[in-house]
Amino acid sequence: MLVTAILSGLVLGGTYALLAMGLTLQYGIARIMNLAYGELIIVAAFLAYTLFATLGLSPVWTLFIAIPAGFALGWGIYGVLMQPLVRRARTPAGLEIDSILATFGLLFVIQGLLLVSFGANFTSYSYLNVAVDVFGTKLAANRLIALALAVVLGGAIYFALTRTLWGTALRAVSVSPVSASLVGIDVDRAARTAFALGGALAAAGGVVISMYQTFTATSGVVFTMKALIIVIMGGVGNILGALSAGLVLGLAETLVATYVDPGLTLATTYGLFIAILLWRPTGLFGRAAR
């Protein structure tokens, strides 16, 4: 049972890590607190569901549509909705407040559209729901694939951000936008790219989630909250922090649900959140750019 719990915890944690990496890119680099982040996740989940239900398309293939579409959507939302706010913002704090208000509105628009199109029912589809043997225990194949995807996608984005000049430039913007502009980085473009990348990660996360969880048109808020908590636990703008805090939270939630009481998962989330912030107020890894 322990192995099963740990594996399920890694699946959930890997998904969380993916989601949190996207939000930390948007919040840490573009300095935009995107309250509609979870709605993007749910849109992608419904996309995967629809394509699976109508065309029988495997969600793994849907990723190839969802990731570019998420990027394009993020790029577009930044250009239309965020750029005017960025232009008029005088301080980073001002931009944060403006973006919270704007994306709060966006949240309800997207949620409304989802409710109209799909209703308020719990949605799920059965993709590769067959048990496979891992380390002597049984785990659904779809979860295994979800874990593999989270590792591959998370690893790729981590590598790109930490080992390439392009990624280092994005992290430099999160450390100091002014200094970044002085080394020749187009800060506005970097922010837009980071926001779009966040959209791509949200979309990827949504597809992965839909493979093994039920969701509704209104569950976006939960994911936004979870991702935000993980981002703060890991340290805002900190990629490695988002990765590790995501894994920790997924493991903790699953272990508590398995061994204590499933009703306590939310309590675990917030308990862990408070404990980590009391211990390290700037998050596990500080407000850094690793």
Binding site: L165, T168, S176, S181, L182, V183, G184, I185, D186, A289
Partner: protein, 237 residues
């Protein structure tokens, strides 16, 4: 090479610069001296594109108008600014900072030679490649700042109070390095509190007060100027 004409700059209604004109020639080292709040930092920020000058201001670099250019465009024309407080990326390593210095398109192809040049000037940075910059001493951080600026292959290097917060020994070391940079043919525009050391490596200087240029002269003349002595060097000198 750099020509500033009638540069004015406001923060809301506060006038920080009022009709300032100055020039820096090719290979020339120019110092700007002035009391706190004279507008020295604002001048460098205005040139670098960090603050947008008022309408009617003219800034040209090698004939290219840059008064409305963004910072990354100004850098691409060949002007690098080391701001007050150095502006290094503390959460990144020495090599990441230097690599970002060569982010500009004009510098990318010469990246490897630039690394050699910087490590030649500051061998200590070569030993500390993997160190996070916020764990370094002030003098070492200033080396990173200068090294990073040089990585962008500038023709004009602007420094805002580079000696601020450094111990006297370190300041001397810093000015020796700046002298080497100067001898390599770069133009320097330096804002400094350390009037004597900066005038010693400079060709010319400007005096700034309350947002205006109030005087100018060659470095040797300024060093002997009674007004400069009174204001900056201590009357007893």
């Amino acid at each position: 090479m750099l020509e500033v004409q009638g540069l004015s700059l406001h923060y809301d209604r506060h006038v920080a610069l009022d009709n300032v004109s100055l020039k820096v020639g090719k290979g020339e080292t120019v110092v700007i001296l002035g009391a706190n709040g004279a507008g020295k930092s604002s001048l460098l920020k205005g040139i670098a594109g960090l603050v947008r000058p008022a309408a009617g201001s003219r800034i040209r670099f090698n004939g290219i108008p840059i008064e409305t250019a963004s910072p990354h465009h100004v850098l691409e024309t060949g002007i690098a600014l080391i701001p007050e407080g150095r502006g290094v990326f503390g959460d990144l390593t020495v090599s990441e900072n230097l690599a970002l210095g060569a982010y500009a398109r004009r510098a990318r192809d010469e990246r490897e030679t630039s690394f050699e040049l910087v490590f030649g000037l500051f061998p200590r940075l070569a030993e500390r490649r993997r160190q996070f910059v916020n764990t370094m001493s002030g003098g070492e951080q200033q080396m990173v700042a200068i090294g990073r600026a040089l990585m962008s292959r500038p023709e004009l290097l602007m420094l805002d109070e580079p000696s601020l917060g450094l111990a006297p020994v370190v300041v001397h070391e810093l000015f020796r390095s700046l002298d080497l940079v100067r001898q390599s043919g770069l133009s320097l525009l330096i804002v400094e509190q350390n009037v004597r050391l900066s005038l010693e490596i400079a060709d010319r200087g400007y005096l700034a007060d309350a947002g205006r240029i109030t005087g100018q002269g060659t470095a040797s003349v300024l060093l002997d100027d009674p007004a400069v002595k009174r204001a900056f060097l201590g009357a007893a000198v």
